[in-house]
C-alpha cells in the first residue's frame, strides 16, 4: 500500500508544484494558535483591574483564577450585563488582531495557489503528501499524510476563505473581551483541526481532526464559562457527539478488519471486495452515518446545536454553520464509494436528512431568539445536504454545503452585527433586557442599513429565490432526488419494506415542504428584526448604530458570494455560462460512485421536466415569502417582557416539541439513576472501593502482619519469599 502510494505520488502531475506545501496550510493556523495561546497565558495576571478594591481583595496566590472569572462574568453576553465599567481591552489585543486573521489569510492564499495548480494539472488521482509514518506496527501502517484532490481543496477553500472573513469580523466583535487572545487561540486551533479533517489522507487523520474540532467547539461554546448555562451547553455538545463518535469508530474498526487499510486510496481500491448491498457494507455505512448525525446535528442527535448558540456569534457562524457541522456531509462524500454500495444506507441518510430538514424548519417557525432561528435553520439546511449525498448526488450535496457556508455565515454574522448594536445600546443605558430576542428589536433597517440589505440577500438565497446561490444548490438537490425515482439502485431497493421509489417521492415532497417553511420563517425573522416599529426602548434607540467597517466589510464579501455563488454549478439546462462546473470538478472523486447509484447513466431529467420542477420550487419559495409578509404583523408585537406565553401547537413548537425534556426523562435521568445506584454506590463504592481497594489494602496489611510475626526480621522474610519463588519457578519447569 505504501509502495503504491509512493509510486503514485512520484509520477503525479502535482509532484513538485505548490501542492508539496500542503502541510503548511494547516500548520499556519497552528502557529497562530501557539502565539495567541502564549499571549493569553502570559498576561492574564497583569491585566489592569476594573475595580481596584475588588482586585486587592483577591490579591494572592490565586489572583489569576479570580481575575479570569471576574473578567468573563463582567462581560458575559445575552442579558447578563451587571456592571457598566469600561471594558478591559487585553494588553496584547493589537498583536492578536494582527496574528489571528493573518495566519488564516496566508493559509487561504496558499490554498488558492494549490487550488490553481490542481485546476491546471487535470489530476485524475489524488496527490498524497506523506509526512511521516504515524502509527506503524504489525499489519497496521498509518501515515501522517495530506491529500490534495478536488474534494479536499473545495473544502479547504471554503474553510480558509470563509474562515478568514469570520476572523476579521471577530476582530470587531470580540475586541473588548478580556479573553480576546484566548478566543483567537481557540479559533485558530479550530481551523487547524478542521483543515486536518478535510486534508488528511486517511480515516485516522480525519478522526483526529474530527475530535479536535469537537474539542474546539466545546471550548468555544463554553467560552464565557463563568455562566453555568454556557458551560452546560458546551458539555451537552461534547457528550452528544460522543454517541456519534462511537458509531464512527465502530465503522472504522469494521473497515480495518475487513479491508486491512484505512487510507482513502486503499479503501476506494478495496471497496470492490465488499459485495454491493451486503449487510457488512450497510452496517459500516450506518455506523458512519451515526457519527455524521452527531457532528452534523441530524435526528436524533441534533439537540446540541441550538444550545451551542451560547458561544460568541462569530463562532456560531464559523463552527456551527459554515464548517464543522458540515463535516458529516464531507465524510459521506469522501466515503461515496462505500455508500454507493449500500442503497439501504443511502436511503436512510436521505430520509433522515429530509425528516430533519422538515422537523427543524417547523421549530424555526416559532423561535424568538434570532440565533435560535438560525440554528434550527442550519439543522434544516444540513438535512438538505444529507438528502443530496444520500441519494447519490454527492456533487449536489457538496454544492449546497458551499453555498450554505456563504449565506449562513452571512446570516450569522449579520445577526452578530445586530446583537452587537443591541448590546451596545443596552450597555449605554444599563438595561438588562435580552439583546437577542426579536421581540426587543424591530425597525432596525433605519439604524443598520448595510446589515439590513446584506441579510435580505442571504434570506433570498436561503429561501431559494433565483438568481441567488441557494436557489441553484437547493434546486440541484431536489432535482437529483426526482431524477433518481426511476432507474437507480435506490429506486430498486426496499427500505423497511417500502419500495425505494416511493421513499424518494416522499423525500422530494418533504424537501419541498421544508423549502416552504424555510421561506416563511426566514421572512418572519427579517420582518421582526428589521421592519415595523422599533421596540428596543426610547433611551436605547439613540444608541443603535451600524457596526464598524471591520465587521461590515466581511459581510459585504459574503453578500457578493451569496448572490453569485450559484454560478459555481449552473444547472445543465441553463442557457449560458459553463454549466455544472462543480459537478465536473468533483468527478474524479465522486463520479464513479454517483454513476454506480444511477446504474451508469448520467442522471439527467428531460429539460421540460426540469423547467416544471424549477417552476414549482420557485413558486413555493415565493408563496412562502408572500404568505409571511401577508400574515405576520410586526406592528402588533410587544417586547419580550410583556409577551404572554403561547398556547397550543405554537407552544409545542416554541418548546421544540419537548424533545430535550423527553431525552431527559427517557435517557438522561435513567442513566443518572443507574450510574448513581448501580455504578457508583454498587460498583465503585461497594465492589471496587470496598472489596478490591480496601480488600487489597487489608490483604497487604495482612501480609505485613505475617511479616512482622517473623522474628528473623524483614530481610529474612524477603529471603523466604525468594525461596518460595525459586520453588515455584522450578515447579513451572517440571510441570509443563
Amino acid at each position: 500500500m505504501l509502495l503504491q502510494e509512493a509510486a503514485a505520488a512520484g509520477a503525479h502531475p502535482l509532484a513538485g508544484t505548490a501542492a508539496e506545501w500542503i502541510w503548511l496550510v494547516p500548520i499556519l493556523p497552528l502557529i497562530g494558535f501557539l502565539i495567541n495561546g502564549l499571549l493569553s497565558l502570559s498576561s492574564v495576571a497583569k491585566l489592569g483591574p476594573k475595580n481596584p478594591a475588588e482586585h486587592h481583595a483577591h490579591h494572592g496566590d490565586h489572583a489569576d483564577d479570580h481575575h479570569d472569572a471576574a473578567g468573563h462574568a463582567a462581560h458575559g453576553h445575552g442579558g447578563s450585563h451587571d456592571d457598566h465599567a469600561q471594558p478591559a481591552r487585553h494588553r496584547y489585543a493589537a498583536i492578536v488582531s494582527l496574528v489571528g486573521p493573518a495566519v488564516l489569510a496566508l493559509s487561504f492564499l496558499l490554498t488558492t495557489t494549490i487550488f490553481i495548480a490542481l485546476a491546471g494539472a487535470h489530476a485524475e488521482t489524488p496527490f498524497v503528501k506523506r509526512m511521516f509514518s504515524w502509527i506503524a506496527t504489525g499489519n497496521m501502517g498509518i501515515d501522517a499524510s495530506f491529500q490534495v484532490d478536488q474534494l479536499s481543496m473545495v473544502m479547504a477553500m471554503v474553510i480558509t476563505g470563509v474562515g478568514t472573513l469570520i476572523h476579521i469580523f471577530s476582530v470587531g466583535y470580540m475586541q473588548d473581551d478580556p479573553g480576546y487572545p484566548r478566543y483567537f487561540a481557540y479559533l485558530n486551533l479550530f481551523v487547524f483541526f478542521m483543515l486536518v479533517l478535510v486534508l488528511g489522507a486517511n480515516y485516522p487523520m480525519l478522526f483526529v481532526g474530527w475530535e479536535g474540532v469537537g474539542l474546539c467547539s466545546y471550548l468555544l461554546i463554553g467560552f464565557w464559562f463563568s455562566e453555568k448555562a454556557n458551560a452546560d451547553a458546551g458539555k451537552k455538545a461534547f457528550i452528544v457527539n460522543r454517541i456519534g463518535d462511537f458509531g464512527f469508530l465502530v465503522a472504522l474498526f469494521l473497515l480495518f478488519a475487513n479491508l486491512g487499510t484505512l487510507s482513502f486510496a486503499g479503501v476506494n481500491a478495496g471497496a470492490d471486495q465488499l459485495a454491493p448491498g451486503s449487510a457488512l457494507v450497510t452496517t459500516i455505512c450506518l455506523f458512519m452515518f451515526l457519527g455524521c448525525a452527531g457532528k452534523s446535528a441530524q435526528i436524533p442527535l441534533y439537540i446540541w446545536l441550538p444550545d451551542a448558540m451560547a458561544g460568541p456569534t462569530p463562532v456560531s457562524a464559523l463552527i456551527h454553520a459554515a464548517t464543522m457541522v458540515t463535516a458529516g456531509v464531507y465524510l459521506i462524500a469522501r466515503s461515496a464509494v462505500l455508500f454507493s454500495l449500500s442503497p439501504v444506507a443511502s436511503l436512510t441518510v436521505a430520509f433522515v436528512g429530509a425528516l430533519t430538514a422538515l422537523f427543524a424548519a417547523t421549530i424555526g417557525l416559532k423561535q424568538w431568539d434570532i440565533k435560535k432561528v438560525l440554528a434550527y435553520s442550519t439543522v434544516s439546511q444540513l438535512g438538505y445536504m444529507f438528502v443530496g449525498v444520500g441519494v447519490g448526488a454527492y456533487a449536489a450535496g457538496v454544492f449546497h454545503l458551499v453555498t450554505h457556508a456563504f449565506f449562513k455565515a452571512l446570516l450569522f454574522l449579520g445577526s452578530g452585527s445586530v446583537i452587537y448594536a443591541m448590546h451596545k445600546a443596552y450597555h449605554h443605558t444599563g438595561n438588562h433586557d435580552d439583546a437577542q430576542d426579536m421581540r426587543n428589536m424591530g425597525g432596525l433597517r433605519k439604524f443598520m442599513p448595510v446589515t439590513f440589505i446584506l441579510m435580505w440577500i442571504a434570506t433570498l438565497a436561503i429561501a431559494g429565490i433565483p438568481p441567488f446561490a441557494g436557489f441553484f444548490s437547493k434546486d440541484e438537490i431536489l432535482g437529483s432526488v426526482f431524477a433518481r425515482t426511476h432507474g437507480s439502485t435506490l429506486a430498486d431497493a426496499t427500505w423497511l419494506g417500502i419500495p425505494g421509489s416511493t421513499m424518494l417521492y416522499a423525500i422530494y415532497v418533504m424537501g419541498l415542504a421544508a423549502a416552504l417553511l424555510t421561506a416563511i420563517y426566514m421572512t418572519r425573522m427579517m420582518l421582526y428584526t428589521f421592519h415595523g416599529p422599533n421596540r428596543t426602548g426610547e433611551a436605547e434607540r439613540t444608541h443603535l448604530t451600524e457596526a464598524p467597517w471591520v465587521m461590515t466589510a466581511p459581510l459585504a464579501v459574503l453578500g457578493v458570494l451569496s448572490a453569485v455563488g450559484g454560478w459555481l454549478n449552473l444547472p445543465a439546462f441553463f442557457p449560458a455560462g459553463p454549466v455544472q462546473a462543480l459537478h465536473h470538478w468533483l468527478e474524479p472523486v465522486t463520479g464513479q460512485a454517483a454513476l454506480r447509484v444511477t446504474k451508469g447513466a448520467e442522471a439527467h431529467l428531460e429539460h421540460s421536466t426540469e423547467y416544471v420542477l424549477v417552476g414549482i420550487a420557485v413558486a413555493i419559495a415565493a408563496i412562502g415569502i408572500a404568505f409571511a409578509i401577508a400574515r405576520l404583523k410586526p406592528q402588533a408585537l410587544v417586547t419580550k417582557s410583556q409577551s404572554p406565553a403561547s398556547e397550543g401547537f405554537a407552544r409545542v413548537l416554541e418548546e421544540k416539541y419537548f424533545v430535550d425534556e423527553g431525552y431527559d426523562k427517557v435517557v438522561v435521568q435513567p442513566l443518572l439513576g443507574v450510574s448513581r445506584s448501580v455504578l457508583w454506590k454498587g460498583m465503585d463504592a461497594g465492589l471496587i472501593d470496598g472489596l478490591v481497594v480496601n480488600g487489597s489494602a487489608q490483604l497487604a496489611r495482612g501480609i505485613g502482619w505475617v511479616g512482622s510475626r517473623m522474628q528473623s526480621g524483614q530481610v529474612g522474610t524477603y529471603a523466604w519469599v525468594l525461596i518460595i519463588g525459586v520453588v515455584a519457578v522450578l515447579g513451572a519447569f517440571s510441570l509443563r
Binding site: 496566590d61 489494602a697 530481610v715 524477603y718 529471603a719 519469599v721 525468594l722 515455584a728 519457578v729 510441570l735
Partner: protein, 509 residues
C-alpha cells in the same frame, strides 16, 4: 566490517566504548580522591563524569553508524548492544545531572558518588555486550557492587543504610542462584558461550535434560531478582525509598534495563530451542509481576515506594513481550525502555525538585495543590504519570511503548493473548495510582504550612524539561525511534544464529 575477536587488537576495538568509560572513571576516581571532600570537588567530578558519558555516548553512536559485526565470540558486536548502551548512558547522564544538584543538598559531598555511577554503567554495558555467561557474570557483579554502595551513599540516613544492607544481602543470595545456574548450564552443554549453548541444545537434543532445565530455572531466578520481578521483588520498595533519589531513578531505569538486555540476549540466543520449557515460567513471572506490582502500588502513600511498585509493574509489562520470544519483542523492549527511562527518571527528578533538604518531597501530601504553587512542575509530573500509564497524546510516547509491547505479544507465532488481557487490565488498575497523583496536584489545595518550593537548580530543570519535550515529541512522531529500534534488532539479536531449532520451536506452539 567484521572484527576478528581472536586478535587482541580487534577485541580491544570491539570493547572500545566500555574501556574508555571505565578508564575515564578510574581517572575521575583519582581526581575525587586527590583532596578533601567539598561541594566544589563534588561538582567538578560530576561535570567530568557527565562529559565522559556524553563522549562515550557519541562514541557509541559513531561506532553504531559504521555497523561493525563479529563472528561468534565472547563479545557481541551488533545494533542491539549499541542501542542498549545508549539507553544506559542516557540513564547515567540523567542520574549524574540530578546528583550534582541533589547530593550537596543532602550533605553527600563525596565525588566518588559519580564515579560509582560510571562503574555501574560500565558493568551494564558489559552485560549488554556479553555473549558468554562468564562475561555476563563479570558485568553483573561490576554493576551490582557499585550499586550496593550507591544506595548507601547517604551515611547519615538510617533508611539508606538499611536499604543498602538489604540489597546487598539479598543480592548476594540471588547471585548464588545465578552462578549455580551458570554452572549447571555449563555442565549440561559444556560451554558458556551463548551461541554454542544454543547449538548444542539443538544438536544433542538436550531439551529434556533436567540439569539444563534446572540451570535455566536458576538463571531465571537470578535475573528475576535484578529485574525486581515478583516474587523476587521484595527488596525493591525498601531500597528505592532508602537510596538517594537520583540513584532510585537510576536503579529503576538503568539497572533494570541492563538486566533486561542481558536476559533478552541469553534467552533469545542460547535458549530458543527450549522455548516450550521456559515459556510457562516466564508467563507466570510476567503475570504475577504485573498483578503484584500494580495492585500494591495502589495503596502507597510515599511516591518513591509507589514508583518502586510501578517499576515492578512495568517489569511485568516488558516480560509479556519476552514471553513471546521473538525479535519484535526486542524492538518493543528497546522502545519501551526508552520511554520508561525518561518518564521514571523525570518523575524522580520532580520528586527531587519538590523536596527539601532532609529527604521530604516524596510524600503524596507534598504534591497536593502543586499546580497552584508550581504549575510547570505539576504539568511535567502529569506528563510523566500519563506516560507511565500509557495515555495517548498527553502521555506522549508512553502510549506507543505499551502499544508495541501488546503488538509484539499478540503477533508472535505463539500469541500471548491471555497475558495481553492481563496487561490491559493491570494497566487500567495502574490508572488508580498514576491519575491519583495528577488529581491531587490539580484538585487539592496546598497545605497552609507547606514549605515554599525553592527554585529548581539548573541541572534538574534541564532534565525535567528535556524529558517532557522528548516524551511529547516522540508521542506525536515516534517513527525515527521505531526505525532505530527496528534496525538495532534486525541483525544479531535474532535467534537465527542462535540455533536452527528456534523457528520450529516457535511454530510448534
Amino acid at each position: 566490517m567484521p572484527y576478528d575477536l581472536g586478535i587482541p587488537g580487534q577485541l580491544t576495538l570491539a570493547l572500545a566504548p566500555d574501556l574508555v568509560l571505565l578508564g575515564g572513571a578510574m581517572a575521575l576516581m583519582l581526581v575525587a580522591a586527590w583532596g578533601p571532600e567539598s561541594a566544589a570537588r563534588q561538582r567538578t567530578v560530576g561535570i567530568g563524569a557527565l562529559v565522559l558519558c556524553v563522549a562515550v555516548l557519541a562514541m557509541v553512536i559513531a561506532v553504531a553508524i559504521r555497523q561493525p559485526s563479529a563472528a561468534n565470540g565472547v563479545i557481541a558486536v551488533d545494533g542491539f548492544r549499541w542501542a542498549a548502551d545508549a539507553l544506559f548512558l542516557l540513564a547515567a547522564i540523567i542520574a549524574i545531572a540530578l546528583s550534582i544538584d541533589y547530593n550537596p543538598r543532602e550533605g553527600i559531598l563525596a565525588g566518588e558518588a559519580h564515579v560509582l555511577t560510571l562503574f555501574a554503567t560500565g558493568g551494564m554495558m558489559l552485560m549488554a555486550a556479553a555473549r558468554d555467561l562468564m562475561v555476563l557474570f563479570l558485568g553483573i557483579e561490576l554493576m551490582s557492587i557499585a550499586v550496593y554502595a550507591m544506595v548507601g551513599l547517604n551515611r547519615r540516613s538510617p533508611r539508606a543504610a538499611e536499604g543498602s544492607l538489604k540489597y546487598f544481602l539479598l543480592g548476594a543470595f540471588a547471585t548464588a542462584f545465578l552462578l549455580y545456574g551458570i554452572a549447571l548450564v555449563y555442565g549440561a552443554t559444556g560451554s558458556t558461550n551463548l551461541a554454542e549453548i544454543g547449538e548444542r541444545i539443538a544438536a544433542l537434543g538436550l531439551s529434556r535434560s533436567p540439569m539444563l532445565l534446572v540451570g535455566i530455572a536458576l538463571l531465571l531466578v537470578g535475573f528475576g531478582f535484578k529485574l525486581a520481578a515478583a516474587p523476587f521483588h521484595m527488596w525493591a520498595p525498601d531500597v528505592y525509598e532508602g537510596a538517594p533519589t537520583p540513584i532510585s531513578g537510576f536503579m529503576a531505569a538503568g539497572v533494570k534495563a541492563a538486566a533486561f538486555a542481558a536476559f533478552l540476549r541469553v534467552w533469545l540466543e542460547a535458549f530458543p530451542g527450549v522455548y516450550t520449557e521456559w515459556h510457562k515460567a516466564v508467563w507466570w513471572l510476567a503475570a504475577t509481576t504485573m498483578v503484584v506490582g500494580n495492585i500494591i502500588a495502589l495503596q502507597q502513600k510515599n511516591l518513591k515506594r509507589m514508583l518502586a511498585y510501578s517499576s515492578i509493574g512495568h517489569t511485568g509489562f516488558i516480560l509479556v513481550a519476552l514471553a513471546a520470544g521473538t525479535p519484535q519483542a526486542a524492538t518493543a523492549f528497546l522502545f519501551y525502555l526508552f520511554a520508561y527511562t525518561l518518564a521514571t527518571m523525570g518523575a524522580f527528578a520532580v520528586i527531587i525538585a519538590v523536596g527539601q533538604s532532609g529527604g521530604s518531597g516524596d510524600r503524596i501530601e507534598d504534591f497536593h495543590g502543586l499546580w497552584h504553587s508550581n504549575p510547570g512542575l505539576a504539568v511535567a509530573m502529569m506528563v510523566f504519570m500519563l506516560a507511565l500509564l500509557g495515555f495517548p497524546v498527553f502521555g506522549g510516547m508512553g502510549f506507543f511503548a505499551k502499544w508495541y509491547v501488546l503488538q509484539a505479544a499478540l503477533q508472535a507465532p505463539a500469541p500471548q493473548t491471555r497475558l495481553a488481557i492481563i496487561l490491559v487490565i493491570t494497566s487500567t488498575i495502574s490508572a488508580g495510582y498514576y491519575v491519583w497523583v495528577v488529581m491531587v496536584m490539580f484538585m487539592k489545595q496546598r497545605a497552609t504550612d507547606a514549605l515554599r518550593i525553592p527554585p529548581m537548580p539548573a541541572m534538574t530543570r534541564w532534565v525535567v524539561t528535556a524529558s517532557v519535550a522528548l516524551i511529547l515529541f516522540f508521542g506525536v512522531y515516534p517513527e525515527p525511534l521505531v526505525r532505530l529500534a527496528r534496525a538495532s534488532t534486525a541483525v544479531g539479536i535474532a535467534p537465527v544464529d542462535g540455533g536452527p531449532a528456534s523457528t520450529a520451536a516457535l511454530q510448534g506452539q
